[in-house]
Structure formats: structure tokens, C-alpha cells
């Protein structure tokens, strides 16, 4: 049987890698619909026949759950991600900590008004007491990928993106990681949904994502895998 999985765009790579493994393990197959979590949530609520939903933020999952679309007891906080500050590969700049961002002319974030990555970054900077100073320098980008592209093109001095994104690019390097303690917890919840055509495939996929081989894959791609209790499991 074939299920339809909605997943945040930032998990595209790893999920594609896991797809054949899932089929091998369960005999079921899934089709992946990838996009921004906000769009996906909205689509699910509009009646899209999704069997599982991997969201890049909690709020979207909450909304879907409130609409009564989540199979009870299937929602799990699956992954976490880390924010990193990236600079162009050829940049001579030395950035060591949040304070050093003040010297930049332009800092790109995924739009902090709407994109989770940007929301997290803004929260981090606010916590560090820097947001007021940095706000004028901040360029909001369409999404994380657009932020990364702006850095790649050398059009901004630095950007805040997910570690997973930074790992994919050969044109940027990581200046420093945002310590997990300084930033809000970034959570990717997953759940099986009810209004799909193959809810049981959704369920088995959600289970599969929590299996050891899946976890290994997530880690390889730079994700932090969260323990079933919500705590951080070893890297």
C-alpha cells in the first residue's frame, strides 16, 4: 500500500534516502510531499489526503492536531536541529560569538516573521540582547535555503541557518554554532494523520522514523535525534 507523507522541506534529503529502506522493511511505500510546514499544515487542514506529517515546528503540528487530524498517541517530537552562523567560503571575517555579529553590514535570516528557522534565530538574538542592535542589518529571506543562497552569493556578510543546511553547501563555512542552551529548542514533531487513504501506512512510517537505522540516517545529515521522552539522545 502507498501512503502520502507531508514533510518539512529541510528533511527532503534524508527522507528520500529512507524511503526505499521503509519499503524494504514494511512492504509499504510512501510518496513524499515536501514543502514549508505552514503550507503543508494548511493543505492537510484543507483536506489533503496525507497519512503522516513531519513538521519543522510545533505550532503547525498543534494546529493540525487541533483540527482533529492526528491519530491519537502517534505524535512524537522526533528531531531537533541546531542553528549555525555561516559566512562565505572566501570571507576573511573572524566571527566568534553573537557579539561579533554587530560589526556586520548585513545578516540574513529566514524571515523571522514567518519561517521557523528565522523565528528561532530571532529568539536566540533577543535572548542575547542583540536583536535591537542587529534588526536594521537583518535581511529576511524567503526561507532557510534563500538565506543560504544569499550567503553563497556573497551578497550578505553572514547568515543564520540550520546546521543541516550548512552541511549541504560547499560555498559557505560555519563560523560558529549556536549553543543548544542559548537558543530555543528546535523541535520537529511527527504524527500519523487520520484523513489519508492509508492511515496505517502513515502509522508504520512514523514508527519507522523512530527506528535505529532511521535515527542513524538523521544524524548523518546533521540532525539531532530526540529521545521518545523528548530529551536529547546522544549525538
Amino acid at each position: 500500500e502507498e501512503g502520502l507523507v507531508f514533510a518539512a522541506a529541510s528533511t527532503t534529503d534524508v527522507l528520500q534516502e529512507l524511503r526505499p529502506a521503509f519499503t524494504k522493511a514494511t512492504g509499504h511505500s510512501v510518496v513524499l510531499a515536501l514543502g514549508s510546514s505552514g503550507d503543508l499544515a494548511r493543505q492537510a487542514m484543507a483536506g489533503a489526503p496525507a497519512d503522516a506529517f513531519l513538521s519543522a515546528d510545533v505550532a503547525r503540528m498543534e494546529a493540525v492536531q487541533k483540527a482533529g487530524l492526528v491519530q491519537p498517541g502517534t505524535r512524537v517530537d522526533l528531531l531537533s536541529n541546531r542553528l549555525v552562523v555561516v559566512i562565505p567560503l572566501d570571507s576573511k571575517r573572524k566571527l566568534v560569538g553573537p557579539e561579533s555579529l554587530k560589526g556586520l553590514k548585513r545578516l540574513v535570516l529566514a524571515d523571522p516573521a514567518i519561517v521557523p528557522a528565522g523565528v528561532y534565530a530571532k529568539a536566540w538574538l533577543e535572548k542575547a540582547g542583540l536583536w535591537k542592535d542587529l534588526a536594521p542589518q537583518v535581511v529576511p529571506a524567503l526561507d532557510v535555503r534563500a538565506a543560504l543562497a544569499a550567503v553563497e552569493a556573497g551578497r550578505v556578510d553572514a547568515g543564520v541557518v540550520y546546521a543541516t543546511d550548512a552541511a549541504q553547501s560547499k560555498k559557505v563555512r560555519v563560523a560558529f554554532e549556536v549553543p543548544a542552551t542559548d537558543a530555543p529548542r528546535i523541535v520537529y514533531p511527527v504524527a500519523a494523520l487520520t484523513k489519508g487513504k492509508a492511515p496505517e501506512v502513515g502509522l508504520s512510517f512514523v514508527r519507522f522514523l523512530q527506528s535505529e537505522p532511521a535515527k542513524a540516517a538523521f544524524r548523518r545529515h546533521g540532525f539531532v535525534v530526540l529521545a521518545p521522552d523528548g530529551g536529547e539522545s546522544a549525538k
Binding site: 510518496v31 513524499l32 494548511r42 484543507a46 489526503p49 543546511d165
Partner: protein
Amino acid sequence: MTDDTTGLVLFTVTVAAVATLIILPPGVAAAYALARWRGPGRGLVDTVLALPLVLPPTAVGLVLLELLGRNGPLGRLLDAVGVEVVFTPGAVVLASAVMAFPLLVRSARSGFEEVDPRLVAVARTLGDSRARAFFRVTLPLAWRGVAVGALLAFSRALGEFGATVLVAGNIPGRTQTLSLAIFQYTQLGQDAQALRLAGVAALLAFVAVYATEGLTRWRGRRVRA
């Protein structure tokens, strides 16, 4: 994401072609009506038709999603008759069609406005009903405008992204078009792959442009010395 480029191209072209063909009759009719009708309310109709062009595609996508969603007025109707649109290839066609419609209408309309009404009048004296004269004189003479409109519509349908991704999702092998695939590759930072598909898109554009070109030139040569 599938790497079956052929399948992707076939799907994309089919969807764009179907969308264009679907909007052709109502688009040409609307263009003709707007070109000839001098009544009130014309500006309003005109504006409504222009909206998909002026609004951000995602907004159009959202409106479509609302309309066709489980609780939308059209969605309920479609549900009742057991037709699913959202997240099917049908949704891709629909989104492309809506986005392409204004381009077709505008262009076709300027084609109709160029037709000398006296030629149509002569056709009437030669025994043509209004409808026959339309198909035998008006339409062939407005041909260039209609063809350009169809080409613009087809191109837009080929490239449509914002509305499609909302109403149809980005489901490889089911609703993913070339445009969505390019978007996905760029999202993944796989620029080489994105570029490859962009090249394919360019090729498609080339074929479309050439075909229209050929058609209009063929007719053009006959009309002018």
C-alpha cells in the same frame, strides 16, 4: 524526488497543454466579448480576470485551496459527487489554468480588437451567421493575438509554481512538475541538478516558441506580401 526526467517533462507538458486547451474556449470567448462588448461592468470583469496576474501566486493558491478545500463551497460540491481535486494532477491543471487565463484573454483580446469589423460585416452579407463569421473570419484574423495568448498561457503553465505548490502539493510522480522539481533542487542546494532541469525547461520553451512562431509566420506570410 524522481529523477525520471522524461516522465517529469511529459507530465509537465501534458499538464500545461491540458490547462491551455481547457482555458482556450472560455478564454477566447471572454476575449472576444471584452473586445466587442461596450457595456457597463466591463472594467469589473476585466479586473477580475487580471487578478491572478496581480496577486502573488501563493495568494491565488490559497484562495483556490479555500474554495476547493473540504470546507470550501466548491470543495463540498466536489466531495458530494466524489471528485477529488486538491493534490491530484487535476489540481496542477487547475492552478496553471487560473494563472494562465489572464494572459490568454488579454492577448487574444487585443487580437480581436485589430480585426476590421467591416470584413466581418462582409462575411455576414455572404451568408454567414454571426457564429459562422466568427469562426471563418474573426478568429482567423485575430489568430496572431490568440496564438500569442496561448503561447504566453502555455509558458506560464509550464513555469507556474506558487499557486500549484499550494493546491497540488509537490508530490513526485503525481503532482510534481518541472517547475516544482527545479524549486526542490534549488532548495536542496543541488544547483547542478536544478540547472539541468532549467535547461530542459528552456528546451521546452524553445519548442513552444518555435511552434507558435511557425504557425503565426505561416499565416502571416499569407496575409502580407
